[in-house]
């Protein structure tokens, strides 16, 4: 097979992977808003495609880079290796989708790329892998804890809904001021910049303890806007305020999920596009973003129909409690360039929200089964990535 043939094949598998992610991982954020009757399924699917695609394009770079170049030292991912890694990861995801068992996409892709890298003769990048492992282990307690806190605030009788929900909106606004996006201009040496840092760059201000005053002020302005907007809505009617907040939260989580998931599809192609073809990173992200957009538009309505009923049973407050950590952890992962699985965060959040209501009501057996699948996915994807590359290179002489 010629090199061009391999590039085309790897790109196709990458698009398929992005499509699968768009159809499955990016949809849940809007389910609570649909469950609360704030938005229709078809409109939500349309929004998810646009938002997740935009998130992929504007925020996808960091995780894509980690997956493509950060996991293994000493070798670069050849076209054949990229094909092998993507093929392995896509197969795992397909198994998860068809069987309904929890097969985290981030685990599958990370495992597959480590396996492929080892098979190429590279050394595991211990520091990066340790960081990823710590993050993954922290996700359930942190997500559960954030959801617990959120749910507790929302449940307290001495904090009225006209204060509690606007406060959460303020937190979301503050974080939005600080997320880094590919479109915000900054000094020539940075590729991504946040609104707050952009303001600080344009308007020089004294710094307080290492933080620019302008960053603090911009963050505060965003928080106040978020607070004021949702407060006005909740004052008209609490239900309307909750609905509006669920749509906003769904939007920012869908955007973040695009940014955090696209790298799982484009990461393996980083060397191929960036080094061998010499294309700017945004080209690869655009391909992934289109895959996610198409996947969301085609796959989301079906998934949303099923999951929105579940979130409707969960109730708006508990849904908010599960989505807030989804947003915060996804943005932290993007900032650190760590591949994550969205479902893990949401499931932990739902349990945390349940604990705040008095009982978790979880099943040890089901937790055991899920954890086993997570570990099984990690271990077998490394082995499969290693084996698939060895096999392909034997057959194709790569």
């Amino acid at each position: 097979m010629t090199a061009w043939g391999l590039v085309a094949l790897a790109t196709l598998i990458g698009i398929f992977t992005a499509w699968t992610l768009g159809a499955n991982s990016n949809s849940p954020p809007f389910a609570p808003a649909i469950g609360a009757g704030a938005v229709s399924t078809m409109r939500a699917a349309f929004l998810i495609g646009i938002l997740a695609g935009a998130g992929a394009l504007l925020q996808g770079g960091s995780i894509s880079e980690t997956v493509g170049t950060g996991l293994i030292d000493g070798v670069s991912i050849t076209p054949l290796a990229a094909t092998a890694g993507l093929l392995t990861a896509a197969t795992f995801m397909a198994v998860g989708v068809f069987s309904g068992y929890p097969v985290p996409a981030a685990f599958a892709t990370t495992g597959a790329m480590v396996g492929v890298g080892l098979s190429l003769g590279g050394d595991p990048s211990v520091g990066t892998l340790r960081g990823i492992a710590i993050f993954w282990v922290l996700v359930p307690p942190v997500s559960g804890g954030l959801a617990y806190t959120t749910a507790t605030v929302l449940r307290r009788d001495n904090i009225p809904d006209t204060v509690g929900i606007p406060l959460l909106a303020a937190v979301v606004g503050a974080v939005l001021a600080n997320i880094e996006l590919g479109v915000i201009p900054g000094p020539p040496d940075v590729t991504q910049y946040s609104v707050a840092r952009f303001v600080a760059w344009k308007v020089p201000t004294p710094s307080l303890g290492g933080v620019d005053l302008a960053v603090v002020l911009t963050t505060l302005v965003f928080a106040v806007i978020g607070f004021a907007f949702i407060r006005r809505r909740t004052q008209v009617s609490v239900d309307r305020g909750v609905s509006t907040f669920l749509v906003i939260l769904g939007s920012v989580v869908a955007f973040s999920s695009g940014g955090s998931q696209v790298g799982l599809a484009t990461g393996p192609l980083e060397d191929l596009y960036g080094v061998e073809l010499g294309l700017p990173g945004v080209v690869l992200l655009a391909i992934g973003a289109l895959g996610i957009l198409a996947g969301a538009w085609m796959g989301a309505p079906r998934l949303l129909q099923a999951t929105s009923r579940e979130y409707a049973q969960l109730g708006a407050r508990r849904s908010i409690a599960a989505l807030v950590p989804g947003f915060l952890i996804a943005q932290a992962a993007i900032a650190l360039g760590i591949p994550i699985s969205f479902n893990n965060i949401i499931i932990s959040g739902v349990i945390g929200g349940g604990l705040a209501a008095g009982s978790a009501g979880v099943s040890r057996r089901k937790i055991g089964v899920t954890l086993s699948f997570w570990i099984l996915t990690l271990v077998t994807s490394v082995l499969a990535g290693y084996g698939v590359y060895k096999g392909l290179s034997l057959v194709l002489g790569g």
């Binding site: 579940e310 049973q313 969960l314 949401i346 739902v350 349990i351 009501g361 937790i367």
Partner: protein, 296 residues
């Protein structure tokens, strides 16, 4: 799910619009078997849903309000006891099959919605999967498009493994509704007529044997090249058509054969497809048929 009686009939409901009719049919089946009706609905929670970690008990208590409502909406049945139960599973067919395993009912009744645009109803794949795995007599009822009284039941027979379940099921419904049963046999050519007549008469004899003179039994024989056409033509004038699943085999994929599919498609009456107890297929056969269906 303890204290199961030997004649109990399990009925699985998912669609509120189907509950009343399914419970009525289940009542007829249970009355003839001297058992109770065990009404279940499956609460579907795949492991990767946000509820993936909750225990079945929590899900039933806190997150299954619709299912509770569905069970409560079922009407009581005259002189048949009814037990209501919720089952948590990752899909409808898994839930039904495990309920059969846990309660060993003498028969299972499920709804069969032939409208593929309804994703939450029991679809063909669920029927196939339950037919392949449930270790009891299984009846799948396609709701009639015009509900009404049952006065006449058509039972096309052609021998095979499901004939006993088909005939006794039809007899039970006839007995419960004071309806008559017409046993129909179709011969492909004139020469088959005698064989066809023998099939029809054997089944009619079975019915009279089981149900005595409480039901009226007639036999009919038709000749025609296409069995499906003849059954569809004969269906006119009957309220319910009860027929065997007819097909088994590794490579044919679907367990429900072409005759019932055609009858379901081309008639407006209530159609009940029966699959006898011994009709489950092995794991390998199921895997092959699943792969065949998925088009891989």
């Amino acid at each position: 799910m303890s204290n199961t009686g030997p004649g109990d009939v399990l009925v699985a409901v998912e669609d509120p619009a189907q509950v009343a009719q399914l419970v009525r049919t289940a009542g007829d089946l249970a009355r003839a078997r001297d058992g109770r009706v065990r009404l279940i609905t499956v609460v579907v929670k795949p492991p990767n849903s946000p509820f993936g970690m909750f225990s079945d008990e929590t899900i039933i208590e806190e997150f299954a309000a619709d299912s509770h409502k569905l069970l409560e909406s079922a009407p009581d049945i005259e002189d048949v006891a009814i037990v209501r139960d919720l089952v948590v599973a990752r899909n409808v067919s898994d839930g039904i099959v495990s309920a059969v395993k846990n309660t060993s009912p003498s028969a299972l009744l499920i709804g069969w919605d032939s409208d593929p645009s309804r994703s939450d109803a029991l679809l063909g794949t669920t029927v196939d999967s339950v037919f392949a795995r449930a270790t009891t007599d299984v009846y799948a009822e396609r709701m009639g498009r015009e509900a009404g009284e049952v006065t006449s039941i058509l039972v096309p027979v052609a021998g095979g493994p499901h004939v006993d379940a088909t005939v006794t099921g039809a007899g039970a419904i006839a007995a419960g509704n004071d309806a008559s049963v017409t046993v129909l046999s179709v011969g492909a050519e004139e020469t088959d007529r005698n064989e066809a007549r023998a099939f029809a008469e054997a089944s009619a004899a079975t019915l009279t044997d089981r149900f005595g003179t409480s039901i009226t039994v007639e036999t009919a024989v038709r000749t025609g090249e296409h069995v499906e056409d003849e059954i569809v033509a004969a269906a006119e004038g009957h309220d319910v058509i009860m027929l065997g699943a007819t097909r088994q085999g590794v490579l044919r994929g679907r367990l429900v054969g072409s005759v019932p599919r055609r009858v379901v498609r081309d008639t407006d009456q209530t159609v009940i497809v029966a699959r006898g107890k011994g009709g489950t297929s092995g794991r390998l056969a199921r895997l092959v048929s699943r792969i065949g269906r998925s088009g891989l």
